[in-house]
């Protein structure tokens, strides 16, 4: 069984190697089959192992396989070895399953593109790195996956390399995530030096043994790991790179910047939950960051014109919800929301991508309109996705996951009314901007005509994802509706369950409130953007909307604070002022040379004069010594 576990990541790696070495020469059909096939096979394997894992759990609830000893020197031991437990099972399920669907989608989406094999090579490499990240049993291997994922996001954002702007966006993404990664690696050093190991569960045991609750070391390491998570998951303050990352092809945005990579931060915090439990201050910080980010992203999404940028900001906001859940200690709720979010956000990106493809690369939603009739399948799937995003009560999965988070935000021991209020306002904003997007793109009169209908390879994945966005919610029913906690029971074997603070307020009240707020958001969107578009028009011109549009001005601030000084510093000293020292020494010697060579003017009498001076000099020394 463990050998199969090792095969899951190795298959996409094998796909990457074949495609990168022979990609250029193979026909596109073969490339497509290898690309999708490898991910499909590993999805199949995940299913098999998943069922076996859930049905007859092994004694300590873990499958582990050790491939080879990577580094072993001076007390630092890190092996290439994978560990499957409940948490990583969810993640590999989502990565492989959603990944497979996206690969199928991109066979048609990328057809005819001259970098076809290169695209699939990078996608396979990405799936491999993500699988390594979630299956790694020590933090160093996790870091390998972590950076591999960053690399693939760089490669894929800048996939259409002809356009320098894409290159710039790719570099921005890689550098900002790299800042987060540096914080994380310092956290790794701290952990290794103080706890002597990098193996994750040994680390957790050592931490709980050695560090008291709230001890400075625990706080510092948790904060550093949080820094890494914030960088990778595009949370405040390192969130500016995600909207620009939309420069990549839509399947890339779907897979990397919606479903899997951006949630790596959530996985890291969930995996090292013992550390965060030991550092309550940092845990609340996680919650606060989540809350702030979801508000910031919510407002920004309201003012975007580009379809994909709206979805990007919405992703930031939804991950904010996950951070909120982690912050208040609702570990399984966060992971549940991650899974549901992966389905409907991937769906939205794929459908949106299809829309953009059909309207021959038109990104601005105000130039679209009335597509309801032109592409009914895409419209209905897009509607389901948006409903699930906006958490339409009872029918969509989004409702169950977001509601659970809102409920725990209030009721959890270290939750607080303020956090709940932020989540509540966020929910309202989410439904508002989602349906603003739906009404503007699909309703009203058509401004650009789609030239052809989407192929079957685009439609099938979208439909499957739509089904999942609806049904996925039912595996986790809240208390008021029969409390069927299949999902959290599985996870609670690994992650601690939520400690509820005060019991008096019942869950029903919060569910009703949440549904009311999402419906009113939808209605307001209907009024603003369908009934009287003029009203929304005035809002768009105002200065506030420009402020939101630019992602609360973070880009400008970072540009002034970080980019300008470094560029200025580089320009002023382009060729290394230290070089002047060596030139200075040379100058001095040449000066002496010139002075002395004046004396060599070849006149005999000067020579005799020198002789005379010499003798006078010698005699003076002789006299007084």
């Amino acid at each position: 069984m463990t050998l199969l576990l090792a095969l899951i990541p190795i298959l996409p790696l094998f796909g990457f190697l074949v495609l990168s070495i022979f990609g250029g020469r193979l026909p596109w059909k073969v490339v497509a089959t290898i690309g999708t096939g490898s991910v499909g096979l590993s999805a199949l394997l995940t299913l098999i192992i998943g069922t076996v894992f859930l049905s007859l759990p092994s004694p300590d609830g873990v499958y582990a396989v050790n491939l080879w000893e990577w580094i072993n020197t001076g007390g630092l031991t890190a092996n290439i070895s994978f560990r499957l437990d409940a948490l990583s099972l969810v993640f590999i399920f989502v990565v492989t399953f959603v990944g497979f669907l996206i690969h199928v989608y991109s066979v048609e989406f990328m057809k005819g593109d001259e970098g076809f094999s290169r695209f699939f090579a990078y996608m396979n490499l990405f799936v491999f790195s993500m699988l390594v990240l979630v299956l790694a049993d020590n933090l160093l291997l996790l870091y390998l996956g972590w950076e591999g994922v960053g690399l693939c996001s760089y490669l894929l954002i800048g996939f259409w390399y002809k356009e320098p702007a894409n290159g710039y966006a790719a570099r921005k993404a890689f550098i900002i995530t790299r800042v987060g990664d540096t914080a994380m690696i310092i956290g790794l050093f701290l952990l290794f030096i103080n706890l002597g190991t990098l193996n994750i569960n040994e680390l957790m045991q050592q931490a709980s043994l050695k560090w008291a609750m709230g001890s400075p070391l625990a706080l510092l390491t948790a904060a550093l790991l949080l820094g890494g998570a914030v960088g990778k998951s595009a949370q405040l303050p390192l969130q500016t790179w995600l909207p620009d990352a939309m420069a990549g092809p839509s399947p890339v945005s779907a897979l990397i910047h919606a479903a899997t990579m951006v949630t790596a931060g959530v996985y890291l915090i969930a995996r090292t939950h013992v550390l965060f439990a030991l550092a309550p201050a940092v845990q609340t910080a996680v919650a606060v960051i989540g809350a702030l980010t979801l508000l910031l992203a919510g407002f920004s999404a309201l003012t975007q014109h580009d379809l994909k940028r709206i979805l990007a900001y919405s992703t930031i906001s939804q991950i904010g919800y996950m951070f909120l859940a982690l912050g208040v200690g609702a570990w399984s709720a966060a992971i549940f929301h991650f899974m549901v979010h992966a389905f409907f956000k991937a769906l939205l990106f794929l459908a949106g991508g299809a829309v953009i493809l059909l309207l021959h690369e038109e990104h601005d939603i105000f130039k679209m309109g009335g597509l309801r009739k032109k592409m009914p399948v895409i419209f209905w799937t897009f509607l389901i996705g948006s409903a699930s995003l906006a958490a339409l009560p009872l029918i969509t999965a989004g409702f169950y996951s977001k509601d659970q988070i809102l409920w725990f935000a209030w009721s959890a021991s270290n939750g607080s009314p303020w956090l709940w209020a932020a989540g509540f306002v966020g929910a309202f904003l989410t439904s508002l901007y989602t349906f603003r997007m739906v009404f503007i793109t699909f309703f009203g009169e058509t401004k650009t005509e789609p030239d052809h209908q989407p192929g079957k390879l685009i439609v099938i994945p979208i439909v499957i994802l739509a089904v999942f966005s609806l049904l996925a919610g039912f595996i986790e029913l809240p208390g008021s509706m029969g409390s069927f906690h299949l999902f959290s029971d599985v996870l609670n074997t690994l992650l601690p369950s939520v400690i509820l603070s005060h019991e008096n307020v019942s869950e029903i009240v919060f569910q009703v409130l949440a549904s009311v707020i999402s419906l009113s958001g939808i209605y307001l969107a209907y009024v603003l953007y369908l009934k009287k578009p003029a009203l929304a028009g005035s809002f768009n011109k105002s200065r506030i909307s420009n402020f939101f549009y630019s992602g609360w001005g973070f880009d400008r601030v970072y540009d002034i604070v970080f980019v300008k000084p470094v560029v200025w510093l580089a320009d002023i000293d382009k060729n290394d002022f230290i070089d002047l020292f060596s030139k200075g020494i040379a100058m001095v010697t040449i000066f002496f040379n010139k002075a002395l060579s004046l004396m060599q003017n070849g006149k005999v009498r000067w020579a005799v004069m020198a002789l005379a001076i010499g003798i006078v000099f010698i005699l003076t020394i002789m006299m007084n010594l």
Partner: protein
Amino acid sequence: MSPSDFLCLTPVMIIAGAPILMMLTIAFTRNYKVIYGFSLTAFSIAFLSLFFILPAIPCRISTLFIFDQYSILFSGIIILASLLITLLSYDYLLYQESEKEEYFIILFIASLGSLLLVAASNFVTLFLGLEMLSISLYVLIAYRRSRDHSIEAGVKYLILASVSSAFLLFGMGLIYLDTGSLEFDKIVPALSSADHSATLLFTGFGMMMVGIGFKLALVPFHMWTPDVYQGAPVPVTTYIATVSKGAVMALLLRFFFAIRGFQNPGFILIITILAILSMFVGNLLALRQQNIKRILAYSSIANMGYLLVTLLIGNETGIHAAIFYIVSYIITSLGAFGVITLLSDRQNDADKLENYKGLFWKRPWVAIVFTLSLLSLAGIPLTTGFIAKFYIVFTGINSGLWLLVISLIINSVIGLYYYLRVITALFSPANEEKLPPVSLAGHLVLGIVAVGIVWLGVNPEGFLSLIAHFSVL
């Protein structure tokens, strides 16, 4: 004058007799080849005779000469160097229209003067030897009348050399006045034990230093060197750079070590200042020089500065270091100047840097020897110059001469620059200038020099033990 004395004198007698015989042969037939062959055989016989007189040494001849291992070693060096120089000069003078033969005769007289200097144990022999050497050099320097520089160089050298000899004489006179004797054995105890009050003695010695300083081209007395090196015919310049400096240095070494000059603070201060000045001025002047001869002139000033450090070492190893340095310096200068001689044709000497552009690609063998000698002058490993400098620094540190050693290090870095300039010219893209063919004798000299440089650079052990054996004072 016992028979063993005559035996000791044989090499000097041979070198003295040869010019007389040559003059007689010239009286009969003025044949260039015959004279050339004759001088070669004379030099080699003299060199061989050195081995015969080995058992008879040390012998003192009437307080005028002292033939001990030290002077035999230096006589050998001088004779060998003169032999190589005659080999070089044959082609150089071949196209001169008249009096080619007298050149070799005067060369013999000069060598005779040097031999006397090396074996001097009396002020008289010192003076005679020095004057014999100087006067023959006056003539040799101005030998190619056709070229205008020769005469200018000759006149300059004449005036300055005679002035310095006058100083030397005056110094000798004062010392004689004070000590009452001309022999070294009497003067040495007086000088070594002289305390602060013996003004006459010290002024005398100071004045003598001028004469010696002039011949070694130390800094205050160096102004003539670049002009004479440039003006004189190249074999003569080689002769000045190697034999005349070697002989005078041998004399100074013997005299300075005998009077234990390294204990007298006055001498130490003078020698240190002279050394440092020579090193810095020599190297600094050569930095932007375009004329190869002038570069080598300045580098010889600097090298004499390095050599002066060995005087202050204070123990026996100082002499070994000095001898090794002199020998390596002579071989390297023979190499460098030899190349210039071989490349100079009828009209003008190859002294501009441009003539050497691309020599690597036209005459690889000549260029290799030239690079080897330049690297040896610079003190880069694999060459004898490196071991020589290493030996000086080695003994210098051993006796704590930190100031001198550090200035030596700084100067060898400054010196690197202009040696590299020449080497860069050597292997820069070739110009189309035609170079004269190199004769068999020329190749022989270059071969000997190349082997000498590399052999002493890589495996100096044999020669070191030879020096240790021969330099017992």
